[in-house]
Amino acid sequence: MIFSVRINKYLGLILGGIFFLHSPNSKAETFDLLTKVQPPSPRIESLDRPSSNYSLGSVIPYQIRVRWPSPAIEEVRMSSPDLTLENLELIGVSQETISGPEESASTDQILTFNFKGQKPGLAKIKRFTLKWIQSDGASTSELAIPPLELTITQPQNWWLIIFLSVGGATALGGLGFLFWTLSQKEKPIPQNVDKSQEDLILEDLSAAQQRWETNSHHQEFLNELNHLIGQYAAQKLGWNPSQEDYNALQKKAESKWSKKEASAFIELFRTLEYERFSGTVVEPNRLTKLYRTIYSFIEHKKII
């Protein structure tokens, strides 16, 4: 069996050679094939694509790294690529050659195509072919470069942006300060926001009474009562004790209150006068009664 396969193999070769020798062009082609050097075959090592958005006026780089089996690149030259561009213009091409390690026996050709957008909008780089020609002029190698789409945007005026940002921030800050100032001005004095005039005087009366209970200074307490009721009369009736007498006070009180209330109010002043100026010894229970009468009068007059 093995003997028979070997025989068949040798017989096929002999027969193929006889056939070949008898075809009209086979001899030349064979000669060419046997004598001609094979052209180098580059390959795309990497594609550094541009990003999808570029502002108008900025450079758009497209980098292609081609690997050549060394030293083939020395025998070829690249022809200008035929680019079909939309909304782009080619502004330049740069090339860089980098030899690989000795054992790899390769050379990298780095091609950088630089483009610029023409107007804001969609931009395209259609499929194009890189061609390298042998030194004798015969086309040798081609590499197809895939197409590319990107968007051209309106350029950013950074100075304007900075100016607007600073100005805007300043304006916002100023507005905020203005609103804060206005709110402070409009804000009523805290102690009067929720308290009427009567409330404030009633508070002062209570405080005066507590002080009196602590120190038992009758005349001082009487002076405070006189001061507070005078203050009340000034606020409620517009009475000025320095310029007006009790007759004027009575008239003012009667214009706003009933006659009975006005008389009761004047009586408070008379009682205070008696305690303060009559020379009688002040009795605490009388003072307490007077205080309560003043307090209840003002409380009764409080407008809720």
Partner: protein, 329 residues
Amino acid sequence: MEATVKQVNDKVKASQETIETLFREIGKVIVGQRYLVERLLIGLLADGHVLLEGVPGLAKTMSVRTLAHAIDAKFQRIQFTPDLLPADLIGTLVYNPKDGGFTTKKGPIFANIILADEINRAPSKVQSALLEAMQEHQVTVGESTFPLPEPFMVLATQNPIEQEGTYPLPEAQVDRFMMKLIVSYPNKKEEKEILERMSTGEKIEIEPVLDPKTIFDLRKIVNQIYIDEKVKDYILDIVFATRYPEQFKLESLKPLIAYGASPRASIMLTTAAKAHAFLRGRGYATPEDVKQIGLDVLRHRVIVTYEAEAEEVSSEKVVSQIFDQIEVP
């Protein structure tokens, strides 16, 4: 002191009915003019003399005469003229040919209530004689001194309109009057009542409701009226403010005041405040009394400068401003 104050209070309250009766009696003749009558009574009770100023026809003379009749006091009206002599006022010595001696004829000043009408028309000699009598309550005729009857009160009038041929009272003599009252016109209602009463021709008789002895008793009560230290301090603050206004935050008044009130003003203000308290039925004086009477007591005692006169700032305005500024105790 507690008992004394209470007693005084009781006495004052007991006297109120008498005072009201007096006012009612005077009111039969004098319509309105409550302010004038009240002040006259204050002068009487406080043993002071009163200067009246007002245009003619405001019942100044009638008010004084009516008051005198109501308290059963001897009233004498003296019309001061440029030819008046001191002897015409206080009296003189008259030669008696029968015995060759001189007898004293007392002048019209020997009365309880004197109305010196248009005091600014008499010469200075006469004014001085009157004012001396006011101060001393006695007059000297020849070599004899004669006390004036008590109570003794001088009410002098000045006509603010006719100033020609007059002898303005010197400030030192004006100071002897306790109060200077400005008599004003009555209101329409009062004047209507006046013409209804006075146009009938009927004479309205006044019955005496008091006598001089009662007046003395009332004066004693007034003198006992209590005045607290705070009120005294208030009076002193006001008087000192007329002398040193800058110490009381009244710097603007300093160039307007030539002379402030004298210590007599402090005395007069105190006694007048007491009399005012008495009329109000109180046995104690209050700052309210001082405020009510203060202008009348001080308006003629504060002498203003030429600058004030040029700016038409009267002594009244100055005193009012002082009262506005000084804190009431």
